[in-house]
């Protein structure tokens, strides 16, 4: 087994564990942190069913962003929707036999990669060109876009320019899943692609990518507007001793 294979095998175990443990911890923190007061941004739904609807529209159509700025909405929505198809398409490398619906969406997923990179490029252009957005950008905000675009471009490169041995790639990942380790092909595009993906997985729970679980816990969006009908009980975190009132 090559050094490269050993390194990537370890890397993907570490990355998966970090992503899983980090996200679980963060989500657990969001769930147990008290919400002392009712703070939905009104007008807000007056029933739990209404909140589910509001949240569904928010995470699938980016409702608030649409109200806010059509360009950010367009680039952001295209990127996220495309990313979804790209990710689903990649399930073919983790399932054997490939689920039929995954096989079905392969063409969509392949073209979605272009849309994904285009959306990211649009977001980056705004970050560089709009003075307000440039002002609020840290180096990490640029690097995050660079990383995502890098993943997209190396993926496209393998699809359209220099094909990689996808049978071997699939064997490698199935091997990881069933602890039956296989060789990873030495192909710089593939190796770069996977390195960046692993990096993204590791960064995820420590970065602004936490907006993905965060949105579901946002009290201004997920609370029901019924404080007069139903008393919202005051809660405090028991672990902080001096906060009792």
């Amino acid at each position: 087994m090559s050094l490269l294979t050993i390194a990537y095998t370890l890397l993907f175990y570490v990355a998966s564990a970090t992503l899983l443990a980090g996200l679980t911890y963060r989500i657990w923190l969001y769930a147990v942190t008290p919400a002392p007061l009712r703070i939905p941004t009104t007008p807000a739904p007056t029933t739990a069913g209404g909140v589910v609807r509001r949240m569904l529209f928010e995470v699938t159509l980016f409702n608030s962003l649409f109200k806010s700025n059509k360009w950010i909405w367009l680039f952001g929505w295209v990127f996220h929707a495309a990313l979804l198809f790209v990710l689903l398409r990649h399930l073919r490398y983790f399932t054997d036999p490939v689920w039929s619906w995954v096989a079905l969406i392969q063409p969509i997923g392949k073209y979605a990669a272009f849309a994904m990179v285009a959306g990211l490029a649009g977001l980056w252009a705004r970050r560089l060109l709009v003075d307000r957005v440039r002002y609020i950008s840290s180096p990490s905000d640029h690097l995050m876009l660079a990383l995502l675009i890098g993943i997209g471009l190396t993926g496209l490169g393998m699809g359209y320019l220099a094909h990689t041995d996808i049978v071997a790639v699939k064997a490698f990942f199935l091997g990881l899943m069933y602890f039956d380790w296989q060789q990873l092909p030495t192909d710089w595009l593939l190796n770069l692609h996977l390195l960046m993906v692993a990096l993204l997985m590791i960064i995820f729970p420590f970065s602004k990518l936490l907006h993905a679980p965060g949105v579901f816990f946002s009290p201004t969006r997920n609370q029901v507007d019924n404080p007069r009908e139903k008393r919202h009980l005051p809660t405090r975190n028991p672990s902080t001793s001096n906060a009792a009132s």
Binding site: I39, R126, S207, H211, R221, R231, H232, S239
Partner: protein, 496 residues
């Protein structure tokens, strides 16, 4: 008139290019030792303030899901950058909601996140030092906690929550704001923000009764501390003195009179506005809220009704039940608390009031949705009632009404520029500049529809507009109370 440049009203609102530091000099007076201590904070900057502040930050984040989620979730997309009236009016980039949050988030990252601890410059993390504290004091007193940014944020991040936390941290190290903290002290010791003791209040209300009788020939009472009344009216203390607020109070009195409702004001809880909210202090907010509960129990009322007040209505509607409930001793047939607009609206629906809208024919009205009524509360039993009900009451009282442009009203409404504990003369530059978007929207309906007056349902909005309207070429009396319109239109007498 002013030592600063008054922004020009443009025919179409524009997003200004950023001008770094234009409002860095703006900061309110610091609270005196005496007031700090009386409301539970250190009198002056504590010795190891950096550590105390960081500890407090950790405690606040551990106790607020909102704060934790908001600090983690921002992706710096820029959607909020052109949504704050203070940014639009000042061009200072630190008045963009995300940048304001980042003043706080940068410190949070430095002390509470892995990336900030080891790679601070990569993620924009900063040590808390004197310079950062000064920036906090300046810019967290340039947020009126109006929640407009939270409408447009894809994750619902509410800068108000972060401003409140920052103010609470500053209070906890001995750096408080004079205006808010003096007022909280007054409200907790005397019962209202103006510091009006019971005799003065009684005297004022008697004077108003005489005024109404002189004007209408009808004896309308404004009872104080009347045990056994059905309704406790809790209203901002500005309603007792300031113009046009007092005309609104007269309006409530006439509505109660004409509907035959028994009501009273309490001298112990003679304040609706709860400034505990502005400084993010749960404990102070609760103390003020409990006065209302105590007054309701003491007077033996069956209902609680709030007068026209914006942030007060948010605390009343959204928080009162949590802070001072349960209110199972009140009449379960009515929501607790009720807004006076809800009371009037219900009476109008039931034809229990006779209104003659031609009494207001000398005015062409528009309505300013107060930020915290619009985005932090509701009226009625349906989503968006806080927009429908006040307009319905106005339309029943006036013949001429036009709304301002749709992106400046309802949930998109702009703050008056003086909310959230900023209604003080030491911040007048900020207040004038921050009202620019509202003034532009007003100008548009003045030009297009001949609007003459702006009606509001918030004590702060009313005071703020009285002060800043003249800066933009309007008259100070072009702001009216909503119930002032009702007061003009109501037909007093037996037949209805």
């Amino acid at each position: 008139m002013a030592e600063f440049e008054i922004p020009a009203l443009k025919p179409y609102p524009e997003i200004p290019p950023i001008e770094i530091g234009t409002m860095a000099h703006s900061k309110p007076y610091y609270a005196k030792q005496e007031h700090q201590q009386k409301i539970g904070f250190p009198g002056e900057l504590v010795d190891n303030w950096e550590q105390v502040a960081i500890d407090k930050m950790g405690e606040l984040v551990d106790n607020s899901r909102a704060l934790r989620v908001f600090l983690d979730s921002c992706v710096k997309c820029g959607a909020c950058t052109d949504k704050c009236h203070y940014y639009l009016g000042t061009s200072d980039p630190n008045n963009m909601p995300v940048a304001r949050q980042d003043l706080f988030r940068s410190v949070y990252r430095r002390y509470f996140t892995l990336a900030g601890k080891y790679l601070p410059s990569l993620v924009g993390a900063r040590d808390l030092d004197q310079g950062v504290l000064d920036e906090w004091y300046s810019y967290f007193h340039q947020c009126s906690q109006c929640r407009r940014c939270s409408v447009y944020c894809p994750y619902g991040i509410d800068t108000a929550e972060i401003s409140m936390a920052a103010r609470e941290i500053m209070d906890s190290i001995g750096v408080g704001q004079k205006y808010c903290n003096e007022i909280i002290d007054k409200a907790q010791t005397i019962g209202n923000n103006l510091g009006l003791p019971e005799p003065a209040l009684a005297n004022t209300l008697e004077g108003l009764e005489e005024d109404i009788e002189d004007e209408t020939g009808v004896s309308v009472r404004l009872p104080l501390d009347q045990k056994g009344a059905d309704i406790l009216l809790v209203t901002p203390s500005a309603d007792f003195f300031a113009e046009p607020h007092v005309d609104g109070l007269i309006g409530y009195a006439k509505v109660f009179h004409q509907a035959g409702l028994s009501w009273t004001i309490s001298s112990y809880a003679s304040e609706a506005a709860n400034f505990g909210l502005f400084i993010g202090s749960y404990d102070n907010m609760q103390k003020l809220a409990l006065r209302i509960r105590e007054a309701a129990l003491e007077l033996g009322v069956k209902r609680i009704v709030f007068g026209e007040c914006g942030h007060a209505w948010r605390v009343a509607y959204s928080f009162l039940n949590t802070l001072a409930g349960p209110f199972d001793f009140l009449d379960p047939d009515y929501p607790v608390p009720q807004h006076v607009c809800e009371v009037t609206y219900d009476l109008i629906q039931r034809n229990a009031l006779r209104l003659d809208p031609s009494a207001n024919d000398d005015m062409v009205l528009t309505f300013h949705d107060s930020c915290n009524v619009a985005r932090g509360s509701r009226m009625g039993d349906f989503e968006g009632g806080q927009f429908v009900i006040p307009r319905a009451v106005i339309k029943a009282s006036c013949n001429h009404f036009f709304d301002m442009p749709s992106d400046t009203i309802k949930e998109a409404t702009f703050c008056c520029g003086g909310g959230g504990g900023l209604l003080t003369d030491d911040l007048v530059e900020l207040r004038v500049k921050g009202s620019l978007p509202r003034m532009e929207a007003l100008k548009q309906v003045v030009d297009e529809h001949g609007v003459t007056h702006l009606a509001a349902i918030c004590a702060i909005c009313k005071s703020q507009f009285s002060k800043i309207l003249p800066y933009y070429g309007f008259e100070m009396d072009q702001i009216v109370s909503l119930h002032q319109l009702v007061s003009n239109a109501i037909v007093l007498g037996n037949e209805h």
